[in-house]
């Protein structure tokens, strides 16, 4: 049978419709489509996809199970290495990981690995929930700081081995960036809640409203009887550009904007948490977070949304599918331009005009690409005299974050690099005995799956350390 050269299309909501709702955009494969897509896998010997995956999911094995129609078997294979399959199937940048190195991809489009993973996870979740029983306790206690992808993965791996795991979360809901950051239309919160419940079924305790570094310190966790601590405290404080006008009313960090909309549900009717709706919005930055913010603004009723990014489409770091989806929905990309100032409204005749001090435009300068910098990407250089103004009512800064200082400041002997990221060895061990770390708290802003990978590595190190004790 000839191989279908193309991946089976992912069914999605019509762009014109979805631009005005918060329901999930990608709808997932039907069973027949999943079976047909699984047929495309060559089940090749060297399995490049497995090493392309940060948590080394046994990809060909699970796809063979899908091919046989044994979806539960496929799920069991994925969950051997991944604690959050329904999440990864949705938010992983597969095109730069497993699918990038797929053997089929040499001649044709690679296998839709992410789409199959999502299908398998969703199929499993639709079955009568098979409640996992907590494994036999091994008597060791481990504390996890942060309930984002790194923390949940580390917790899951350790709980399966019989550790008594307690996860401390600063916010009122568990899930970290999966809850406050990634919007409903890309990752429904019910899916995150289900994954968290799965961990609770394994015996993991989740304590919300606990800010480690304030409510309790790392040292106090040891005093409480925990034998190891994993820090997955996440990305931290938003960065700004340090240009004039960033404190005007209507300038948001992407963290604030997305937290208001996602965690605080400002997108729903009659919410208690306010957010600016409608008008024209500029989002500065080109990552996944920028795409999420831009598409959220659109759904909140913005009449026009611009993405302002200083390099070209080629360097845009967001996941390809998100960029495509954003374009289909009508978001305008202003590439090769960089903000130099945010301009505010000022009524000279009326100092009490409520519009005073609010955003009226963002001034940008055009850029061209020069020599490659240390990241290998060509450095954008400003073109003198090319400034222009975009009339907008809100600006969302999505240019990255710097690590939260709370844990560093309250944990003696915990070393950080010059950017404030916690320094760890290959196994995730920090400069403090029995304190491990991973995810954005170590690397700075990165992906969900790399954080999960780090959580996994640390779980293995913690297991090794405590079983030798």
């Amino acid at each position: 049978m000839a191989i279908n050269p193309k991946k089976h299309e992912m069914p999605a909501q019509d762009p014109k419709v979805r631009a005005h709702n918060f329901e999930e955009v990608a709808l997932g494969y039907e069973e027949a489509v999943a079976l047909a897509e699984a047929e495309r896998c060559l089940n090749c010997k060297n399995q490049p996809c497995v090493s392309g995956c940060p948590v080394n999911v046994h990809i060909p094995e699970f796809i063979m199970k899908v091919k046989e129609g044994d979806f539960e078997g496929a799920y069991q294979i994925i969950s051997e290495t991944s604690s959050l399959p329904a999440v990864c199937g949705r938010v992983c940048p597969q095109e730069t990981q497993c699918e990038e190195v797929c053997s089929l991809g040499i001649k044709f489009e690679p296998v839709g690995i992410g789409r199959l993973e999502r299908f398998v996870a969703d199929w499993h979740n639709e079955q009568e929930a098979l409640k996992a029983n907590p494994p036999k306790s091994n008597g060791h206690k481990v504390a996890i700081v942060g309930s984002g992808p790194a923390g949940l993965t580390c917790a899951g791996d350790l709980a399966k081995k019989g550790y008594a795991v307690t996860v401390y979360e600063a916010l009122h809901t568990a899930g970290g960036v999966l809850v406050y950051g990634i919007p409903e239309f890309r990752l429904p919160k019910a899916i995150v809640a289900r994954e968290v419940q799965g961990l609770k079924d394994l015996g993991v305790e989740v304590v919300t409203n606990a800010v480690i570094g304030r409510t309790l310190t790392i040292d106090e966790l040891f005093d409480m009887g925990f034998e190891a601590v994993f820090v997955g405290s996440g990305a931290g404080l938003p960065s700004f550009m340090n240009i004039p006008g960033e404190s005007l009313t209507g300038v948001y960090s992407a963290n604030e904007y997305l937290t208001r909309s996602n965690l605080m549900k400002a997108y729903e009717d009659n919410p208690n948490t306010p957010i600016m709706k409608g008008g024209k919005v500029a989002v500065v930055g080109g990552g996944n977070v920028a795409m999420d913010a831009a598409r959220t603004a659109l759904r909140l009723g913005a009449e026009k949304v611009y993405v302002v990014y200083r390099r070209s489409m080629e360097e845009l770091p967001a996941r390809a599918e998100e960029v495509e989806h954003a374009q289909e929905e009508g978001i305008e990309f202003n590439l090769l331009c960089n903000p130099v100032e945010i301009l505010g409204y000022e009524n000279p005749d009326d100092p009490r005009d409520p519009k005073n001090g609010t955003v009226r435009a963002i001034r940008c300068i055009k850029m061209e690409l020069g020599e490659a910098d240390e990241s290998g990407r060509r450095r954008p250089v400003a073109i003198e005299g090319s400034e222009f103004d975009l009339d907008v009512d809100a600006v969302i800064m999505s240019i990255g974050t710097s690590p939260n200082p709370l844990i560093k400041d309250t944990t003696e002997g915990l070393e950080v690099n010059r950017r404030g990221g916690i320094i760890v060895d290959e196994g995730g061990l920090t400069s403090r005995n029995a304190v491990y770390a991973g995810g954005d708290a170590v690397t700075g802003a990165a992906t969900v799956i790399s954080a999960m990978g780090a959580g996994k590595v640390a779980a293995a190190s913690i297991d090794e350390y405590l079983s030798a004790k």
């Binding site: 304030r214 409510t215 309790l216 700004f240 208690n272 409520p354 939260n404 709370l406």
Partner: protein, 291 residues
């Protein structure tokens, strides 16, 4: 869930509650704040800690009804539960090396100023307190301030109680008379703190202001609480939730902070009216069934 173990109305619109939160009670120091949510759909609001009882495991907060959330909070009674209560957040007020201090509180800000005054009193500093209110029916905590202050001045804007005028009047008189404070600490409406700072500056007296900007998470994630400090090295952005809430008054860009504080004024007014109407309708319904 966090139980309200004690509730006392101080004034018609000002209420004190003690909330069971042992971890927070064990840690909280003067100048720190908490974030709470009244119910599952509620917003997160920051409120400064007004006191703690470590043995009982309770944290005291005093709030004035100003918006939808404080309105809803004011309808919670003893024995009721709050959905979320997290803290202590922010840095405690710096007390080291301060032997003579002037605490200037305004309105419900006095509830926050009180534990600061008490802390200085506890460590043996000489405490002058100037507390100001709009009118007599808003005066709170006078006795408590009296107990921890070497010198207490109470002001009302309309003169309905004690001396008339704003808090900068007695402050300026003291400084003119040659009083030397190691530090002036001011907590209250931002405009008041701005003028306290200007007064202090005239006499070269250092001043600490306690900022209470809009917050969402309060743990150093959203950046909503940012403010600008104009330092000797230039202007820098700081986050009140992790770098503050106390800042050097000389450096704070008050006008910017005032403008940012107004961001959701319109929304909040509407939300408050909505909540008030809901409670009113519920009361009428109850009255109807009882009759």
């Amino acid at each position: 869930m966090y139980k309200i173990v004690r509730r006392r109305p101080l004034k018609p619109m000002v209420t004190m509650v003690d909330v069971e939160a042992p971890l927070v009670a064990a840690k909280a120091k003067a100048g720190q704040f908490i974030i709470l949510r009244v119910d599952e759909e509620g917003e997160r609001i920051p409120l400064t800690v007004a006191g703690t009882n470590v043995e009982e495991g309770t944290v005291r907060i005093i709030f004035q009804v100003v918006g939808a959330t404080t309105e809803a909070l004011n309808h919670k009674m003893e024995g009721d539960y709050l959905q979320d209560f997290v803290g202590p957040l922010g840095k405690p007020t710096e007390t080291e090396g301060i032997k003579k201090v002037c605490i200037v509180g305004g309105g419900v800000g006095c509830a926050i100023a009180l534990p600061v005054a008490q802390e200085f009193h506890r460590i043996g500093a000489d405490v002058t307190s100037i507390i100001g209110f709009r009118s007599e029916d808003l005066v709170i905590l006078e006795e408590e301030f009296d107990a921890c202050s070497n010198n207490l001045v109470v002001m009302t804007d309309d003169g309905s109680y004690k001396r008339q005028g704003n808090v900068t009047i007695p402050l300026k008189e003291m400084l003119e008379a040659g009083e030397k404070f190691d530090m002036i600490i001011t907590i209250g409406p931002i405009v008041m703190m701005k003028f306290v700072t200007l007064t202090a500056k005239e006499f070269d007296t250092p001043v600490t202001v306690s900022m209470s900007p809009i917050m969402v998470d309060g743990t150093g994630m959203c950046g909503c609480c940012r403010l600008t400090l104009h330092t000797e090295e230039g202007s820098v952005m700081k986050f009140a939730c992790v770098d503050g809430p106390d800042f050097n008054g000389y450096e704070v860009d008050f006008d910017e902070a005032i403008a940012r504080g107004r961001t959701y004024a319109e929304f909040e007014k509407k939300a408050h009216d909505h909540v008030c109407n809901m409670f009113k309708a519920a009361d009428e319904l109850k009255a109807g069934t009882n009759a």
